[in-house]
Symmetry: D2
Subunit: 379 residues, 4 copies
Amino acid sequence: MDKVGVWLIGARGSVATTATVGAAAIRAGVAPPQGCVTESPGFPGRLVPLAGLVFGGHDITETSLRKRAEQLSRAGVIPSGLAELLAPDLDAADAEIRPGHVPGDGAQAAAAARLIGDISGFRDRHRLGRVVVVNVSSTEPPAGRRPEFDRLSDLEERLAAGDDVLPPSSLYAYAAFHAGCGYVEFTPSTGPALPALAELAAQRGLPYAGRDGKTGETLVKSALAPMFAGRALRVRSWSGLNLLGGGDGATLADPAARSSKELSKDQVVAGVLGEPVEGRTHIDYVADLGEWKTAWDHVTFEGFLGVRMALQFTWQGCDSALAAPLVLDLARLVARAHEKKRAGALPELGYFFKNPLGTDEHALPAQYARLRTFAEELS
Amino acid sequence: MDKVGVWLIGARGSVATTATVGAAAIRAGVAPPQGCVTESPGFPGRLVPLAGLVFGGHDITETSLRKRAEQLSRAGVIPSGLAELLAPDLDAADAEIRPGHVPGDGAQAAAAARLIGDISGFRDRHRLGRVVVVNVSSTEPPAGRRPEFDRLSDLEERLAAGDDVLPPSSLYAYAAFHAGCGYVEFTPSTGPALPALAELAAQRGLPYAGRDGKTGETLVKSALAPMFAGRALRVRSWSGLNLLGGGDGATLADPAARSSKELSKDQVVAGVLGEPVEGRTHIDYVADLGEWKTAWDHVTFEGFLGVRMALQFTWQGCDSALAAPLVLDLARLVARAHEKKRAGALPELGYFFKNPLGTDEHALPAQYARLRTFAEELS
Amino acid sequence: MDKVGVWLIGARGSVATTATVGAAAIRAGVAPPQGCVTESPGFPGRLVPLAGLVFGGHDITETSLRKRAEQLSRAGVIPSGLAELLAPDLDAADAEIRPGHVPGDGAQAAAAARLIGDISGFRDRHRLGRVVVVNVSSTEPPAGRRPEFDRLSDLEERLAAGDDVLPPSSLYAYAAFHAGCGYVEFTPSTGPALPALAELAAQRGLPYAGRDGKTGETLVKSALAPMFAGRALRVRSWSGLNLLGGGDGATLADPAARSSKELSKDQVVAGVLGEPVEGRTHIDYVADLGEWKTAWDHVTFEGFLGVRMALQFTWQGCDSALAAPLVLDLARLVARAHEKKRAGALPELGYFFKNPLGTDEHALPAQYARLRTFAEELS
Amino acid sequence: MDKVGVWLIGARGSVATTATVGAAAIRAGVAPPQGCVTESPGFPGRLVPLAGLVFGGHDITETSLRKRAEQLSRAGVIPSGLAELLAPDLDAADAEIRPGHVPGDGAQAAAAARLIGDISGFRDRHRLGRVVVVNVSSTEPPAGRRPEFDRLSDLEERLAAGDDVLPPSSLYAYAAFHAGCGYVEFTPSTGPALPALAELAAQRGLPYAGRDGKTGETLVKSALAPMFAGRALRVRSWSGLNLLGGGDGATLADPAARSSKELSKDQVVAGVLGEPVEGRTHIDYVADLGEWKTAWDHVTFEGFLGVRMALQFTWQGCDSALAAPLVLDLARLVARAHEKKRAGALPELGYFFKNPLGTDEHALPAQYARLRTFAEELS
């Protein structure tokens, strides 16, 4: 089976670094593939082996992967000693990281050409069957709608005219598609979710998936909401507070970026239950939590004869450790879908996302069943 | 469609009273069928309408259903005013409650004959197509194994000889089968789970289901454990404390009865995850909680690169309000299975139980899918 | 000992109704004085007996106290049957409720004259030794500063000129002082906390206390923060989410009013620990919670050698039931302080408030010790 | 000021190792004295400086302190690098650890003589003004009462006759007193709490304190219970589950040892509230938690007019990190009390214990106030 490239936008971030270290550790046989859905016992289908993944990407910072790995080691995300042990792999990945596009620093049309060249060069150098571009960079503020987002020709006309109309994540999706790559939007940002980019993916026969990796509190929500629905227990309110440290949290200290994330989170419960539910989800940045995250959810519900009951849960997770294996899963699945000539949004990958493209299904059990069927079909 | 009888063992208990009041309230149009799985929108299949259920049963106490309903009203389980409003229905059900068998008070063979007569009389008086016997009485201590439990002929020989070998719940199951009725074991007690009784049910072509209604903490466990499994997150420990008030709790103040319940609870997680998991579930009786129950669960799990994370939840529920609608669901489903000539244990009803008979499936999503298919097939 | 009048601003609200019903119930011997600090065994000092309190007040709504009591009964705040039993007491209090001042409805100077007359009339009719005015109405948005707030003469000049400069709560405090009454600001509103009003209270020799009754989450905070301080454990973050139903919550759906409350809550921890602490407190209105409130707090702290640890708590309380007995305590204590010729802010009553006037002490144990000493001194 | 010896029973255990490392780190200026009560800003009195403490002790294992420190480093209790940095200090303490007495291995009278010699030798070698013996070894099962425990002469007669009647912790206390040292019982074991040993301490003019360091869940209990009492809120039930990993937990897997601990925990709430309260505290060993501990407590309480409310908390702490600085506090305070000729049990140190000797006071605020007064008096 051909090797597959994983091109990470935000390649020096916590998630990307953890994914790169983890893939190398599993390849070296020093860590089990825990947290990788596609490696769990009995998971169907035939995908590129984890050892067949090659890493590269874009980033706007220059700290080396080794240094980032050591930081994550001190933060308890990566076992100590692993960064040293896997230094050659990290250096190899480091050598394939190119400068990301800094908004405002040159026109988007020129930037896109450069990004496309970076990705194509990576594919050629490593003779990769396919490359999947995965955005794991910081969350953007929600993007406004613009008329040129609706048609590819209008969009390209505007870019050619020197108008920088695309949000950064969408510029990367645009470059990925032009480079002939599948794309995964792992953040809540817009990415490929514009009609003009869907048109481009269709033209090029490229698959994509997103948005916003479902790693923690929302994962639990999507497991519990169907339980209430199945038992005919009426959910009356669902409220939550997320306390985030680290890079993710710092970005979300910006209210605009936070609103992208909160919107993404709030639709899951209503999506599963089929009706709006009182309550909202707050996100707070608490620097002291480091790479960790604590979320509390409080649910009130009504049973037989209107009796009121309540469920609370507290989730204490490490987002990078939860996201990184999913990045590997998604890269492998999208590469295989590409190989099998699937184009457009992949609703079958909704299991991985808070705000799945191409489907309204938010219930975790239904998403999981669909994922397994998809994996079987891809074989 | 024929009317269906619901014969409740423990007919004056909290669950039975709530079920009787609730069915009457729904029939009278003063309460929605919330909490009834088989009444939820889109649930497939064709069952006897709730208005077609007729109630009777056995109990060893004599407090009237009206009085019990008023007690439950003060405890917040039944809306105030409902007991008065539905007094004629409660009195009608009361008139169909016969004295339960008090262990030690006469030989089991004679007791069985009397119980069979009670159930048959009820069916005849109301010209019921079918009667389902549902045990919602107090939990028994675990019963030891005996050689005569393995063959019906040996069992009947011992009973004929005046040996009272059956645990009370199994005596009721024995009587139910001899009376030609399906049986539901809603408690953790032995009930029909003896080879000799399976033989009897097979001979008579009767379906049965059990054991131990999955109403609260264990329900949540069975929704969350598959989430961990699907995401390849390794559960390292799962501990819990259940604080129970009310009748259920008082019974469980007896360590022997408690051990039946704790065993029933502890197998769900290991059952879903396919490996034993450290930790145990405690049950405490806290009189002050009245009809309410609070459970706390603490789960540690391991993700990518061995990172440790944790999930806690607190469930605050009212067991009677959670159990009562499931009793109605089960009576309707077993009656329909009986009509469709299904005999023996019904693994398709595992969705309702902590310790499902005839299956090892404990994952809630899989159980729910199987229930829906079953309901469709019964149409 | 003379009778004491309790004049409630917001006399038909949940807190006022519960206080009025509760005082009558205790007087009638049908409820113990649970929740009343000044009635707890061994509490020092000599205060007017609860049976010596007479109730009246202002409100802008007209629903009768009986009706309000029945509503609170259905909500589970007042035991059922109590409203009927105590109907004569409620009717008597009802007869002493006068229309509150609706902002914008006439000049404040004229309004103040009318309010003063209402309070004085109440005192005269019942021959009360003293009247204490207690504000338990809805929370106001934070009031801006104005130059005329600094001197009584400037303030009275502006009022005389027809300028309505006072926030409503301060208008009531102004009227209370002019009527010769002590005043308690039980809400986060400004009330007497203006230099001009402090001047007036000093002139008239009147005591006052406030602000913002410490009834739930903040009470727990002020008990736990000193524990960390005493043990030299460094608190690193303290975050919280309050979910409020009922009247209080609905008012706080208004972001401006909410900000008054959040400010009041956030200062306690820093006040006790003597340094700012990361994290904030959110307040959400969740109508489904009715008269109940659920708060979750999450604290991270650092121990020996920098080890990080965490504490979480969930508080589930009924604010009216928690606030009402404190209103009785405060009325009795302020009446006694008035009798003993204490004038100005009473820092000794900081135990009752989130934002105590006249003191920076926020630690519950220190506040409690000071309260007991004060109660002894008043004897 | 003279140097003070800290002689640790269980000198290679987690608490002792953390205390030894921590004292060295603080002395070296590489860690702040966080968690040390006697070092907190404004704490009164004059004690031996932390740099004046010299460490030695007994243990029955032989793993070096350096190795134990590295283990605790991997477990996250001690910052990485500290064990290497402080190796000379650890080696020095290691050189002062002598073999503990293994029960059954020789008569207690002879063992006591040897233990006394060990302690005296340590004092002489280092020319220490005073030595305080602190028991931080594993918890013993509760010891039965024996007639010879009531009088020193009877006890010594039995020992002389070769009867090994003392529980191990009491043998160490006996040796400590004979060696002229103060003693701290930091575990729930019997230690000095026998009339015969009180007699010995009185004869020799030696102070002692105990039992069972109040480090986590019970600390929180003793902060919260007085809050309920002060507010006249009636606690109706208090239940808890403790999940313990590590050495402490493993010992407590033995039901007999666990019962010592559970008894110690359950008396605090009743002690503060002055009446028995429904509910109990469970302790479970969960190996997966390592050096960490998670406890959940659930409290129901009743307020005004009987309204029911609830409080839950979850404590996630590291027992060694919480206990170690208190060991330093206690050694300093007991050494100073010894110097000031205080003899017998020191009730003023109840702040540090779940089951304080010489006092029934369990409320944390009262204990803290008494500790501060004591510290002032010792100056």
